[in-house]
Symmetry: C2
Subunit: 453 residues, 2 copies
């Protein structure tokens, strides 16, 4: 029987060492979008894992390499820990209170690019591992790490890696790369994610821009073509016009709605943080809002670019225009089908000149709410946080959980050290050190919980 | 009687001096958009004009100052020469074959920012003036110069200046700041300009951008709002939806259509220069094309900006979006009325959240095709170019000609040294030195022609 007093004491005793190691990890600027220090960071992780008795190695992909590691445990149950060592770009640098790659501690927090997303999660798991190795001399269950280097750029090569290594990655359950407490400090179980289909739509109507006075009446304007094409995708009623788009949508179950009802109302946060006065479709908050946030597919324009964008005026007729668009998909929509629907719809509307570039995506994925691993993770939080996790049956965001769910057949659950103030993709990214300690303690319960399942 | 041999010889004899002075003028980087060296350039011009016996001074405006100068002549007829000393920004600098503010001569051309637009035109007029002063000791007619410093940023303060100085600027005719030969080397009379109403439309739906996964189903997206608002202005039929927009449009006269028919077909140029395969509305070329280019009002999107515009993907829901839009207006449309129509139309469509910022503009303006000054300028070209000017009854572009036409009551005519290869707003702006000589000779005929009218 594990002595939780001893485990928790070991986590506390080694906290300084854990944070120092986390600092070294965060000092490596492994920005995947810029390709900096990726190999260096992967090698550092391999060394850190080998030092803990893991068999660890770097596995090449067509993009940034993946760090793989495994170590057996007392039980033959195996948990697959998914993490990533890449981080978001640190820009804009002038908004950081301390340099992004010089980790800094103040007021019970630690600040650095990647300290929350996702290096703090890696270190938190290592802290739990260290405590078992010190107190018990072994792990309660076998652990496999998959630490990728492309999460921040869409996990481009991860699904193929997973599908090419199903034997190597065989496990009983997957613990997701992140987890969090909510705005009220309550730990959250994210039991699923929406899918995504991210495209860039572009139009080119001439080989160069022209003078609007000379050509405004006679040349096709790429910006107008783009606007008309986009308008054909969605109107002010927010309904997406692609034929068949909603055919596969599964409405939420009674259980889903019960879980959503138990979640706090984000309306105050939205109002304070974004200055939002009201929601689309006249929704005011509560269950209606929660349901709309995650069980409805979307078509979001993420960016628009055409012609002159500087100060003042320039009378130019743009030869090129483009839009970045993401479709968030709910079960059982599929991004490949949306792509086909989009092309057909544009062609049908006369927009054969609008090109579609696939920028990445994946299908939605949900873990069965009755899955025993998920339930164990939820319940084991209570000893640490004083309350079991509350369950979000599916989140609005997207990620490669589908490949673990569908290609490896694993239940995927979340636990971790994120929180609403983490500023994960922004300047002054941080963790609260108390969250780190609790996260390590919870992780220790999860490892033992799986061993005993 | 003026001896044209003596005048033309004097122009030729002083050509090197004229070009050297033009070089000094172009070396002053008077970029109005950036506010550099504006006073320095104005003072240089005052000195240049005083050296030629003009009473010359700088007149302040709420923006960049205006250079005013006058000198009497043999006749009491007076021509108002409108020019501007400001130039476009020189960027992108790396595309210049010689530095933009270090004038360079090669292959019978002179290269510098502003050498064509508009400093070469100023110097060309001075070359004609110099020849009269040397050969005849006096000017054939009185000359008033208005040389503004804000042409490249919309002549913001020029109309007020004109209206505030109608007595000072009293004259018999106005010679416009530019003129040109066309792609076939034939001199062109631009007898009018379309008006313009330039606006920036912007939408703000939240105080900051949000994560599309969290908010895509529930927040207003500024980019979508902008697209829906823009789409309400014009559809793929190219018809502008503002109620009343076309009410004041005067169709071209038979005379206008005859003049348009005599112009060369620009289709080959458009194809070669812009890679255009076809025109809007199925127009193929000839009179239909020429008519559409100048006698039809437009609504051009000049720029679009929203959200993420970099490489790859970012899942952001933009809080702000904006579009730069110009309306080109034909007689007798008015920009102030278009602004009112635009606001009313957006409000009517539910787009009260779309803000309109007026970026500048002015009404269309045409000189009577039978005006004797215009006819004299047209006819006097023949002695220089071997052909009278061909007349474009109105051009597609816009400018402040309306204030000279309507506020001063002057006929406005064009003659000058531009040509299709001048790259006026682009890197490697240039003039052909032979055009400069011909332009000075033509200007000399115009000054004498007005004196004898």
């Amino acid at each position: 029987m594990t002595s939780w007093n001893a485990i928790d004491e070991a986590i506390g005793r080694h906290l300084e060492g854990s944070l120092e190691e986390l600092g070294r990890l965060c000092a490596v600027p492994s920005v995947s979008a810029q390709g900096t220090a990726m190999r260096e960071c992967a090698e550092l992780l391999v060394n850190m894992l080998q030092a803990r008795g893991f068999e660890s190695r770097i596995i090449a992909t067509d993009g940034h390499p993946i760090v793989y590691a495994e170590r057996s445990g007392r039980s033959d149950r195996t948990v697959l820990l998914y993490n990533h060592y890449d981080v978001q770009p640190a820009e804009p640098l002038d908004l950081w209170e301390s340099p992004p790659f010089e980790p800094s501690r103040r007021d019970g927090q630690m600040f650095a690019r990647g300290v929350s997303d996702d290096k703090g999660h890696i270190e938190c798991r290592l802290a739990a591992i260290d405590s078992f190795l010190e107190v018990e001399g072994e792990l309660p269950c076998a652990i496999k790490f998959v630490i990728e280097g492309e999460e921040e750029i869409g996990s481009v090569h991860l699904p193929d890696f997973i599908r090419d290594h199903t034997d190597l990655l065989a496990a009983d359950a997957c613990l997701w790369e992140f987890g969090a407490v909510n705005v009220e400090g309550v730990p959250v179980q994210y039991a699923g994610m929406r899918g995504i289909c991210y495209v860039e739509l572009s139009v080119e109507t001439a080989s160069r821009d022209s003078h609007s006075g000379e050509t405004g009446s006679i040349f096709q304007n790429a910006a107008w073509r783009l606007i008309w094409a986009l308008r054909s995708l969605k109107g002010t009623d927010e309904l997406i016009r692609l034929p068949g788009f909603y055919d596969r949508v599964i409405p939420p179950s009674e259980r889903d709605l019960e879980l959503l009802s138990a979640l706090p109302d984000p309306a105050d946060y939205h109002h304070e943080h974004y200055g939002i006065e009201g929601y689309l479709k006249g929704i005011e908050g509560g269950l209606d809002l929660r349901r709309e946030m995650v069980f409805v597919p979307t078509c979001t324009i993420c960016g628009l670019t055409a012609g002159y964008q500087g100060e003042g005026s320039k009378t130019v007729l743009p030869a090129r225009a483009s839009a970045k668009v993401d479709f968030r998909l709910v079960p059982d929509q599929r991004p490949d089908e949306v792509l086909v629907q989009l092309r057909a719809h544009l062609d049908q509307g006369g927009f054969t000149d609008v090109e579609i570039e696939w920028m990445g995506g994946g299908p939605p994925g949900r873990t069965d709410l009755d899955d025993p691993f998920l339930q164990m993770v939820v319940a084991s939080a209570e000893e640490i946080y004083g309350t079991p996790q509350i369950i979000e049956p599916i989140t609005g965001g997207s990620g490669p959980n589908h490949t673990f769910l569908h290609d490896l057949g694993l239940p995927v659950a979340t636990a971790g050290i994120g929180y609403p103030g983490a500023k994960a993709h922004a300047p002054n990214e941080n963790i609260v050190i108390d969250h780190f300690v609790k996260g390590a303690q919870h992780t220790a319960r999860i490892l033992t919980g799986l061993a005993e399942m």
